[in-house]
């Protein structure tokens, strides 16, 4: 029997009731937590939200999240054949699921004093 990694993931957007999703993914030695998250989107839930860009190189630093309460990069944290609890960063504003507002304030659309062009 193949081993599985179980990812228990905090879901939702600000103002929504606390909810968690549980996903089993096939465990393969050496894979990253990000590998597991990407597989979940393809195999079962494309709506699962998390940030990443460089995928593998730990260059973009976008995939920060909490694994069992500790801040990690999902691309360098190893997937393990056990239950792993994933939550968004605690000290950043939540956008949705595991995605948080990590852009510098002056690089957010919301920072623009935008007048409707009406």
């Amino acid at each position: 029997m193949t081993e599985t990694a179980t990812l228990l993931i905090r879901r939702g957007a600000p103002g929504e009731a606390e909810s968690w999703s549980r996903f089993d993914v096939a465990y393969e030695r050496g894979q990253s937590v990000l590998d597991g998250l990407r597989r979940i989107r393809i195999e079962s839930d494309p709506t699962l939200a998390f940030r990443f860009s460089c995928i593998n190189a730990n260059a973009c630093k976008e995939c920060m999240m909490r694994l069992d309460g500790k801040v990690v990069y999902a691309c360098t944290a190893r997937l393990e054949p056990r239950e792993m609890r994933l939550e968004p960063l605690a000290n950043k504003a939540l956008i949705r699921d595991l995605a948080t507002e990590i852009a510098p304030p002056d690089e957010r659309l919301a920072s623009f004093a935008v007048k409707p062009s009406g």
Binding site: C54, N56, C60, C75, R78, I95, A103, P104, L109, F112
Partner: protein, 563 residues
């Protein structure tokens, strides 16, 4: 203008889509010319894209390692391009490269130096001498990104917005007047009026299952340009990087990381029998590692095809002949990162295989980076032509810097040729706000596209495979339907994937169509059914969109302008 309450409208002189090296260089140049700049990226500014991933080297004829001249760099570039380079673009890249490298040096990027202060250069495949500068260790791209980002942040006139996905260029009366997209953060529609728009979105390597790309390299700029009415060129030429990391699973490292160590140490490529095989395919390796990428890719895939590959489907790369202290010296702290992945190079080889790495093709531009659509420009890897049928190693970052600067200068200096009209943006805005059925898993569609592109539109192609690919692409297009699933919302990855899939399928069709038409083998395009190169095909193929379909046309290759 009446604006929907959930729409944001911005205006700027120069809109730059994509914040890698090309986009940031363009922003800095346009700012220097006094233009207001809006630099947007679907990811975070200066973090997504290919530049931050470019761990390796930058080709430039500085002449500090040993005497050099940009014309020699150009000769090597044209030779690698197998007769298809736009010589004017290639010359621009080589001639202006040194200025850009010194500009970055002035901004303290940290080029590796000799003890006497000269900037170091390594010899990379296809170059006639050491010409490739770098930042140790494996830090070239991150250092370039960080340095440009620092400059961009200092300029008052450069506004930056991340998490903004551009979905269409807005064209009014044949002139590009801005763009439409949506905020990834909250799903709101965004429209941007601009006097000039620069596409600096990089390449298309995400179309392939095995790739060295960031998640956002899905060829979106090519799709934006096509739909806006611009021409693409050389779309059949996708560069595969011969020795991408395959196994054992290596995390926290770029899969193309082995290359500079081969330059320094001469790692051996071995087949399943432990034998150096490259020479069997006429690829001159003899420990010096000078083979061009297309030839080495071919040798590796032929060896795998002959059943002499490694267990994971590649070949072995071994540094076991190199003494441990030399390994430590050359790899530096990277040795420890490898150890954390359970890899000890003194005891074991790794497995490597060709992976999609760079796109030679792209948006057709003039030397000032203008496309055929007034008001629309391109820069960096998004541009096609400079590298012909095969890119010389190290030319990608040079191209990003040089073309970015050229595009920024042109865009800032050009008089506006059109004016924003909401009606011209109506269709694009409607799509961004559309609420479609969640009929297909868009992440799975992208995954399937990546597999079929790897299988049929990789380095080796056949008429049957390419026709299968085109049929599959049409099937996937039908599967995703005409509108994104659900309704606009916060960080909606399924909708983001839908917009990506829409672009990726169009660009994949362009690549496969051009590959099917080119009945010869040349550079990165190898046809098993037409294995020889054919002088009749010493021309470029341009693609434009007519009635929603990509249409191919032959164009004579542009020779250098008379001196």
């Amino acid at each position: 203008m009446r604006t929907a309450p959930d729409r944001v409208h911005l205006a700027t002189d120069v809109l730059i889509v994509g914040a890698g090296a090309a986009g940031m260089s363009a922003a800095i140049a346009a700012d220097e010319q006094g233009a207001d700049v809006l630099l947007v990226d679907r990811s975070l500014i200066g973090r997504g894209g290919a530049t931050v991933m470019a761990q390796m080297t930058v080709a430039v004829a500085l002449g500090e390692e040993q005497p050099d001249d940009w014309r020699d760099h150009l000769r090597d570039t044209l030779k690698a391009g197998r007769g298809l380079c736009d010589e004017g673009l290639a010359a621009l890249l080589c001639e202006r490269g040194p200025d850009e490298i010194r500009r970055l040096d002035g901004w303290h990027v940290g080029w590796a130096r000799h003890a006497d202060g000269r900037i170091r250069a390594a010899q990379a495949p296809g170059h006639d001498r050491p010409r490739c500068v770098y930042v140790d260790f494996l830090s070239t791209g991150p250092a370039v990104s960080r340095t440009l980002r620092g400059q961009v942040q200092r300029q008052e006139r450069i506004k930056r917005v991340g998490d903004l996905c551009i979905t269409d260029i807005v064209v009014a009366d044949g002139v590009a007047v801005g763009a439409v997209g949506f905020s990834v953060t909250d799903g709101r529609a965004v429209s941007i009026a601009a006097k000039a728009v620069i596409i600096a979105t990089g390449g298309l390597t995400r179309l392939y299952a095995r790739n060295s790309a960031s998640a956002n390299m899905g060829g979106d700029g090519y799709a934006l340009a096509l739909r806006a009415g611009a021409e693409l060129i050389d779309m059949e030429f996708v560069q595969f990087f011969p020795i991408g990391h395959l196994a054992p699973r290596l995390i926290g490292m770029d899969p193309i990381m082995w290359d500079p160590f081969r330059y320094k140490l001469g790692g051996r490529l071995l087949n399943a029998q432990g034998r150096d095989f490259a020479a069997d395919y006429g690829v001159p390796e003899d420990g010096r590692y000078v083979a061009p990428r297309d030839l080495l890719t071919r040798a590796i895939l032929k060896e795998v095809g002959a059943g002499r590959g490694s267990p994971a489907g590649g070949v072995f790369l071994s540094f076991q002949h190199v003494p441990a202290d030399h390994l430590r010296e050359a790899f530096g702290p990277v040795i420890d990162r490898l150890a954390a992945n359970g890899i000890d190079l003194t005891r074991q080889p790794v497995e490597v295989a060709p992976i999609a790495h760079y796109h030679m093709g792209g948006i057709r531009v003039a030397l000032d980076m203008k496309t055929a659509v007034p008001g629309l420009l391109a820069a960096g890897e998004a541009v096609g032509g400079a590298n012909g049928a095969n890119r010389l190693s190290g030319n990608a970052v040079t191209e990003a810097l040089v073309f970015g600067r050229a595009a920024g200068n042109t865009a800032a200096g050009a008089a506006p040729q059109g004016a924003w009209r909401d009606e011209a943006a109506a269709e694009a805005l409607a799509l961004v706000a559309a609420t479609g059925p969640a009929s297909a898993n868009t992440a799975a569609v992208i995954s399937e596209l990546q597999s079929l592109m790897n299988r049929h539109v990789g380095p080796f192609r056949t008429v049957a495979g390419l026709q299968d690919a085109l049929a599959d692409i049409r099937r996937l297009r039908a599967a995703i339907g005409a509108a994104p699933p659900g309704r606009p919302g916060r960080f909606d990855t399924a909708r983001l994937d839908w917009f990506d899939a829409r672009n990726m399928l169009l660009v994949a069709e362009a690549v496969a169509s051009a590959a099917l038409a080119r009945q010869e083998s040349r550079g990165a395009h190898q046809r098993d059914d037409f294995p020889e190169s054919d002088e009749c095909w010493a021309i470029n193929q341009a693609i434009s969109l007519r009635g929603g379909k990509p249409v191919l046309e032959r164009r004579p290759t542009k020779a250098a302008a008379p001196a």
